[in-house]
């Protein structure tokens, strides 16, 4: 018997939907992936709403910012064998999480005159609400990485063997950056978080001469204290902390530093 096509859903919570566009932007490559799968509830290409069937792999992008978002997230968890946090917002809080580090709920006063009746929660990563089986990191995600890991995730879902869920190799951004032939930004005195951040993005930022700001998150062996010390020469502790806020990295660094 032929293997059944995997049922895959992409769910967008509040977000820029950029991770979904990374997939669509792959053009023919993505459409040939779609041909081999059964895409359920893919809002960007179809109008009919799916019937609520069981799903093999669900990819969730964005933040749960409305009550509806939270409901959707919990419902889809029930239907999914494997749930993937797709991108920085779902995995680490993304740029909306900046508000947690500063004025919190009061941030709304800079934007709206009437704030009654607007749901304005603290920004939380999706793993605060549901179990997450795999993180596809980045802001946005890397499309090639999606194609690389999806077959394993589908296999894990279809066989129920969770040992098939892949683990992204613990290697810093620097490995790919060097391979791309880039001059090290740190050696030029420019801030870059490359050494403590999980590789797999082809060092796209340093290649564009933009220092890594950590959207893919800390790598398991990432040494935050050594990174802080190395960056002391060109940024104050406050600047370091501020930069780690952009992609919701600050709380992870603080947790790591408490552990050690």
């Amino acid at each position: 018997m032929e293997k059944p096509k995997p049922k895959i859903a992409i769910v967008s919570l509040t977000s820029c939907e950029g991770c979904q566009f990374v997939l669509l932007d792959m053009g023919e490559k993505f459409f040939s992936f779609v041909n081999e799968a059964d895409m359920v509830d893919f809002r960007l290409i179809e109008d009919d709403e799916g019937p609520g069937m069981d799903l093999d792999v669900v990819l969730v992008e964005g933040n749960p910012v409305t009550e509806e978002n939270i409901k959707t997230l919990k419902q889809v968890r029930k239907r999914a064998k494997i749930l993937v946090a797709m991108g920085n917002c779902a995995a680490m809080g993304g740029v909306p999480e900046i508000k947690n580090y500063h004025e919190g709920a009061n941030t709304i006063k800079h934007v709206y005159k009437y704030i009654q009746g607007i749901y304005n929660p603290e920004i939380k990563e999706i793993d605060n609400f549901v179990k997450v089986d795999f993180v596809l990191p980045g802001c946005p995600i890397n499309g090639e990485e999606f194609l690389k890991y999806m077959p394993f995730l589908i296999e894990a879902a279809q066989t129920g063997d969770f040992s098939k869920v892949p683990i992204i190799p613990d290697q810093p951004i620097c490995v790919e950056c060097k391979a791309a032939g880039n001059k090290c930004l740190l050696l030029e005195g420019k801030p870059c978080f490359g050494p403590m951040i999980l590789g797999g993005c082809n060092a796209v930022c340093p290649t564009a001469r933009m220092g890594c700001q950590g959207c893919r998150g800390l790598r398991p062996k990432g040494n935050t204290k050594a990174m802080r010390a190395a960056l002391k020469k060109f940024m104050t502790d406050e600047q370091f902390d501020n930069t780690t806020e952009i992609y919701g990295l600050r709380d992870d660094i603080e947790a790591r530093e408490k552990e050690n």
Binding site: I98, H110, Y119, A208
Partner: protein, 419 residues
């Protein structure tokens, strides 16, 4: 009778729609936005200015380029940073690439199925494989422009206050020029195909607003102009176009003299059509529209015309850049100064406006962002209320389908509108 659509797929972001009709009279037609608040303007306050383009472009995954460029231009205006002509030209090319790929996505993959009475794009791709290939190639060309200049398509990397972190590779630019004639040919063929698509004959007069500039089809720069003969510098925008928040609404709508107005491709075509590049001008003429053209469905064909124009214009500008010193785009040292700056750039969906205030050390004190969808939302509702009268007699399912198609033709971006 109440007409309710819980969720409109195939647009950017989350929204539903609700209308109430009493004895054939449309009493109200309103969007029910389901998008959460990310408070991007709020989180920018207190941050150092280089963070602004990085954070602000994450408002939208489909048009990050224009958020990036507009925030950079506003910061430069605030601090009095002057950039080179080469930088302006390269930024313009990037924005043209943004228009090409956003339009190609919308007119083919998001909107077309509605006019062929198809339920989804999988059917569309199956029945129109040749056209699909053309649309993908055109879209990829637009994305390639953004990648070559910006380093990445979704959330580009090289742009910054003062210029670019690095100049694009000249060989990659040459390749874009070399490919442009083939892509232009594909766009003209796709344009012919779109001419055969029947859209409803629905007309409602409105005011068209966009950037305007002498001698060019304004995209990166210009003054604010309107089809009513109105013209103001961008600095006067907020004095004339008023944001208003209704209680519990998360989109701040915008009005001009107490009325709704329209922006985007159809507004630009109406106001600036005599400045199109030759092939785009010929294509538009072949549509035989009578101007001003007030059919909102023509937004799709306006986008098609702009795709053709942007391919021609970007090739011309890249050629000019290749004849100049490309290193002039690399950022030179500048002074951080206190000030307030405003800027506007034409996004795929219309004029995007930013105002920013920075202190003497470059920390952000205040930000206001007015997005295209927030500006045209009321116009869309006014249009829908009128259009609904014409389709009231249809069955529920058919009517809902027509409504969805109408809303999608506008190409709304709810993620941008709420931000």
């Amino acid at each position: 009778m109440n007409i309710k659509i819980n969720h409109i797929a195939k647009i950017e972001g989350h929204t539903g729609f609700m209308a109430s009709v009493l004895q054939g009279d449309v009493k109200s037609a309103r969007f029910e936005v389901q998008e959460g608040i990310r408070l991007i303007e709020g989180v920018l306050i207190g941050r150092h200015y280089p963070d602004m383009p990085t954070v602000a472009q994450r408002i939208c995954g489909i048009c990050p380029v224009v958020h990036n460029l507009t925030s950079i231009k506003a910061l430069e205006a605030a601090m009095g940073v002057v950039v080179t002509e080469e930088t302006k030209k390269l930024r313009t090319v990037m924005e043209l690439g943004q228009l090409i790929h956003s339009h190609a996505l919308h007119l083919f993959f998001l909107s077309l199925a509605d006019f062929l009475d198809m339920d989804n794009d999988i059917q569309l791709i199956k029945e129109y494989p040749e056209e699909t290939k053309k649309a993908i190639k055109i879209r990829e060309y637009g994305m390639e422009i953004v990648r070559v200049i910006g380093g990445r398509v979704v959330h580009p990397l090289t742009n910054e206050v003062g210029g670019f972190k690095k100049a694009p590779d000249a060989d990659e630019l040459r390749k874009l020029v070399a490919d442009s004639s083939e892509v232009l040919k594909l766009a003209l063929e796709l344009g012919e195909f779109f001419k055969g698509i029947k859209v409803p004959e629905f007309y409602r007069a409105t005011e068209y607003v966009c950037l305007g500039k002498t001698g060019e089809y304004a995209i990166y720069d210009g003054e604010v102009i309107s089809s009513e003969g109105f013209q103001i510098p961008v600095a006067e925008f907020e004095n004339n176009f008023h944001e208003l928040q209704k209680q519990t609404e998360v989109i701040k709508r915008v009005e001009h003299e107490g009325k709704s107005y329209m922006i985007g491709a159809i507004a630009r075509i109406n106001n600036s059509r005599n400045k199109l590049r030759p092939e785009a001008e010929k294509y538009l003429a072949s549509l035989n529209w009578i101007f001003p053209d007030y059919n909102p469905f023509h937004n799709i064909l306006s986008q098609m015309t702009e795709v053709i124009h942007c391919i021609e214009e970007s090739a011309k500008l890249i050629k000019e850049l290749l004849h100049s010193d490309l290193n002039q785009v690399v950022t030179k040292p500048y002074e951080i100064k206190e000030g307030t700056g405003v800027a506007a750039v034409e996004a795929p969906r219309g004029t995007l406006y930013y105002r920013v205030e920075v202190d003497g050390k470059g920390y952000i004190k205040n930000v206001n962002i007015i997005t295209p969808t927030a500006q045209f939302l009321s116009n869309l509702e006014d249009d829908v209320a009128d259009y609904l009268k014409e389709i009231l007699d249809l069955g529920n399912k058919d009517r809902e389908r027509r409504l969805r198609g109408f809303i999608r033709a506008y190409d709304p971006c709810i993620s941008c509108a709420v931000h």
